[in-house]
Symmetry: C2
Subunit: 339 residues, 2 copies
DNA sequence: TATTTTTAGGTTATCGGTAACATTACTTAA
DNA sequence: TTAAGTAATGTTACCGATAACCTAAAAATA
């Protein structure tokens, strides 16, 4: 491996001079600089970031931990984060916790070992608290995405979940629906709780009563087993005419289940959900959604993180950004006239 | 930051003893081991991977470079790669070249700087050759995925593109189609070339003539501008009854275009393509596809890479794995009876 | 008991860079 | 002409870990 010393020897200068040329620091005569550069090219020199990180005590690596790599909300978010990171000269590592606390815990270890300069996390849920505390204890700056974790103070980018859910319900009501059910993520996730609240608010504002038999709480991730959801659907009597899904993945799961049972959407059941389906809503712009600004989640979160890292010394107040969701009306809701 | 020396001091042993405890090497009395471990826990010690990498000359980091992070083929592949990496105690970084040679070149630099132990690459195309040569020159083991790069010998995992395309054409023919067009990726990409050949083979086997006006070559990535494709569609006279798309993204783009022009699929036009749409084919299992074993691409590629790294000394012969594609028949092809 | 072997642990140098300080060679003003 | 200032470069120590070598004490063997 070519090192700074090989360059130094061949150019008949000291290693320090080479280092100065590489980093454009100190004073170097044009002649020396040219000579060193020529030798570096001749030998195809690439600086060893490992050695540099060791002495500089920074890796210029950031980490993005998401909960579902197949979910276009997160891949879009990842792109935003990546773009913002690159702009500031950081490189970005990804991790995928699959909504699992164990995997999340593994990644926190990885993060500490890799000595990354900062982390962007979509936490698995409230029980992620110890993981965040661990990052805090080890002095790793982090910014939360999409979900709050009660008990920890930090920078955070959130969507307006409550308002978005209310909007979805009100849209359904405007189309004549009165029996509206909800499939949601786990109540141990702050955004799921807020979406439930928004759903309840939407009902109340329209003088519809809330019935917890119409609510099914499961995981936001892909479901292996739909039988529980199936039982829930059967238990609702009278059946709802519409279902609000807490996110895009759940909407897809519900549709998969309904299709299996020969229930057609939107003719027999209307569906709306949080988050868009990325490029695949192009194929058939079907689902009516409360689209969150996924790219902005990543982009703004990353900018906050980098600012936090660069202002390590100063004690900035914690920042909180709340991004609104946009209602995109498509074809998954049927207008019904009162029976 | 807590270092091995802090532990050593507090446990009244040498740093080396601590290192031995951490790595389970050498001989250490149970008493000492327990004492050191206790101090490590007390101080929440996390080993500094940077320092370790410097001396061990390995980072235990691998890199996966894909060309489209929104494409479920690649996210599924990524998952396979991640699983295989984790099993062998490696961590995985991702990069996304967006089918762009410039971004790919950037990532190659990143890869060299980050001193990763090995790389899994889906190259942007034949012109990626210098990038691969650069990796080779710097002694970074790599495995290619999905696309060959003429001029470089290496381990590789490919799909059976020719056979898959032939299958798609034959399926269309079996449904009565005779005028079959193809939208494909750039001919500078090996898999695109093979898919074109497979398409031609499929036609020939059924005594259909090949007409290059029925073939449109563009990028495999998402298209910003559909106007060229639109002109192509208009130029075909008589118009085809079916289109074979070189991958899933192109299929989605074609459908987007057709929808915009009020042409309904499959009633007015049948569509088939390479690669499945991931979880989104659940929502409406619509597209008939030649599904590649995306997960296996990543999993097997990663296993080959790790073997290559671990057998660095031995000169293993280059390996080539070719994975077949499965025809999944859904609803995007209409059976037509001869007019 | 004396000698060899084994066990448990310590010392030192090193990985490839960079910060801080030191030195040399020119300029420039007095 | 000379002291002082500046520009250009070199020296040394260190970041945090580990490999290779070394040593003292205990255990095994003669």
């Amino acid at each position: 491996m070519v090192t700074i010393y090989d360059i130094a020897a061949k150019a008949s200068v000291s290693a320090m001079t080479v280092s100065r040329v590489i980093n454009n620091t100190g004073k170097i005569s044009e002649k020396t600089r040219a000579k060193v550069k020529r030798v570096m090219e001749e030998l195809n020199y690439v600086p060893n970031q490992t050695a540099r990180s060791l002495v500089l005590q920074q890796t210029k690596l950031l980490f993005l931990l998401i909960t579902d790599i197949m979910n276009p909300f997160y891949t879009t978010l990842a792109r935003g984060a990546e773009d913002a990171a690159k702009k500031s000269g950081y490189r970005l590592l990804f991790g995928n916790s699959d909504e699992s606390l164990e995997k999340e815990s593994d990644y926190v270890t990885t993060i500490l070992i890799a000595r990354v300069d900062g982390v962007l996390v979509a936490p698995a849920g409230d029980p992620s608290l110890p993981h965040m505390e661990s990052l805090r204890m080890h002095n790793v700056p982090f910014v939360l995405l999409d979900r709050e974790v009660p008990g920890i103070e930090c920078d955070i980018v959130l969507g307006d979940s409550k308002e978005g859910a209310r909007m979805l319900v009100e849209h359904l009501v405007s189309q004549g629906h009165r029996r509206i059910a909800m499939v949601n993520g786990s109540p141990s996730i702050s955004s799921a709780r807020l979406r439930l609240q928004g759903y309840q608010d939407g009902l109340k504002l329209n003088d519809l009563s809330y019935n917890d038999r119409y609510v099914y709480e499961t995981s936001f991730g892909p479901l292996n087993d739909l039988s529980e959801m199936e039982q829930w659907i059967d238990r609702m009597d009278p059946p709802p005419t519409a279902i609000v899904a807490g996110n895009n993945v759940l909407a897809v799961e519900v549709m998969r289940l309904l299709r299996g049972r020969g229930i057609s959407v939107p003719d027999d059941m209307s569906i709306v959900c949080f988050d868009d389906l990325g490029p695949y809503s192009e194929i058939e712009p079907f689902l009516t959604v409360a689209a969150q600004q996924a790219y902005q989640f990543g982009y703004m979160g990353m900018k906050m993180l980098i600012e936090r890292i660069q202002e390590r010394e100063t004690t900035l107040p914690w920042k909180k950004i709340v991004l609104p969701a946009d209602l995109i009306i498509r074809r998954s809701v049927k207008e019904i006239t009162q029976p």
